[in-house]
Amino acid sequence: MTATTMDIDTDPRDARGQGALGETIFRWLCLGAATLLLAALAGVVISLAIGGWPAFRQFGLGFLTSTDWNPVTEVYGAAGPIVGTIVTSILSLVIALPLALGVSVFLVEFCPRNIAKPIAVAVELLAGIPSIVYGMWGLFVLAPWFALHVQLPIMTSTSLPGWVQAVFAGIPNGANIFTASLILAIMILPYMAAVFRELLLTIPSQVREAAYGLGSTSFEVIRKVMLPYVKRGTVGVIMLGLGRALGETMAVTFIIGNSHGFPHSLFDSGSTIASTIANEFAEATSDMHTSALIALGFVLFVLTFAVLAVARLLLASEKH
């Protein structure tokens, strides 16, 4: 009521004038923020391209397809780290997605209110732990346990078929592609679970109640009503996790085994783009070595950009 009396008292032209000015300022501020962000992104990609140019010029497409990474002879090929990055990211996503889904569905649908809050907080706390702590935990706790209780039994088993042995071949010390993916999965889980939970909470309760009213079981409500409802958001959740897994550095460096070549099996040591840069940048003395590492950074940028672009496309196709 008071608001309307105020409106009558003041000159409407003044209000409109101020509003228009505020509107303009606000619009320019937003434009400024958006442009600044784009400029920063462009700045990053341009400086990476310039820094990596000597390597791209020297090795051409071979930089992406060759697995030779030899700082002594100054021959650099990034196929090993690129494949390692993609494999660990996808594998970690495959592990984390069902877990994130399970955690968030449990919290929203089944968990008693008084326990749900502490669990939700605990999941979000996982996101606050620095990655180096995950790396050290992986190196000193997970890797030895994994080697002893998973790798050795598989490697020494005689009853497994040959292709299984080939997939799981490797050095039994727990530093490999698979354990790196496990660590990554734990690291991206809290982000995915938190967003997923928020998504599920946006489902109007009438929709769920209606489904229950029709006689659906809990499983049917989740599978046929809730999950389809948040389908578009799920793509965002996946991309958030994937984006984080692609760029994770310290934790992976500790646990992946850091060999430059092409990983031949799931339990083989490998490397990722981020771990290679982290390992070698500080001591890279030659210009070509530095350039090759910057070129790797450029490749990672493009890879991440491509992933996000694919996510956009998926979202767009969902509309139809």
Partner: protein, 345 residues
Amino acid sequence: MFKTFVVAAGIAGLLASAASAVDISGAGATFPAPVYSKWAETYKATTGTGLNYQAIGSGGGIKQIKAKTVDFGASDKPLKPEDLAAAGLYQFPTVVGGIVPVVNIPGITAGEIKLTGPMLAAIFYGQITKWDDPVIVKNNPGVKLPSLPITVVHRSDGSGTTFGFTSYLSMKSAGWASKVGASDSVNWPTGLGGKGNDGVAAFVKQTPGSIGYVEYAYAKQNHAAYVLVQNKNNKYPQPVAASFGAAAAGAKWAQAPGNYLLLLDQPGANSWPITSATFILVYKNQDNAAAGNQVLKFFDWAYKNGDPAAASLDYVPLPLSVKNLIRKQWIANVTSGGKPVYTGQ
């Protein structure tokens, strides 16, 4: 009003120049960082001059001194004389460390296995793949070696330790020199990489049948099962401070142009074959005589008073003869406007 402003600005300027005159800045190698910071602490307490050392890696140290953003650079890998000349730099050693191969073989204790340089090269190349290989057995009569596959563990990050170790393998094996070579990071033919000395030590500890290489301090502090390595006099000395000191004492620094000297495979019955020094880089022609003087005064003080601190951190001090030689080089090599910036104590 204006006057007070000018006076205030003047005072601020004085303060700033006083501060820049007393603080030394350096950056580079991570390996000597603990001993440099320990020295800096004591030096600041006794002289009031502080040292700001950033352990950003040898490569970073070389880049920073070339960009003149620091008073000195530090590198575990000495620059070749021609590189020094091209950049107008001079280098000198500060402390010595040892690189020790460590193993995890069930039933084998520290110092029980003896290996030669070519054997180490063959193992790290992946040619010798089992611990009961006839070559190893023949060199270790009376030692019960298990038929266990060998897992090679190396550094994944670029490091002076790797440079020292691969330089040694290159010296001892023509095959290694031509196929792999020596550098801060190389294309390892086999095995897996751990980040830092900790990473290598952890992987060796966790993998039965593994062999890796770490700084002496890590081998000592972790009570790792080290391997004895044959030296130039065909002896197998223990990897202890005295053996690294023997290698440093036997080395011919005076004959090494630009102090480019790897302490590998030095003569002497007690010389540990895989020893390495760490280096400081300064400009031969100093833009700022006072800053250059501060740097050399600091290391002069460290040569004189820093040995106990170095030893307590498991670094090996340089022999006195080498220190005296380096002091003479300072007077002859580091100048500003034609005058030496350091004139002895």
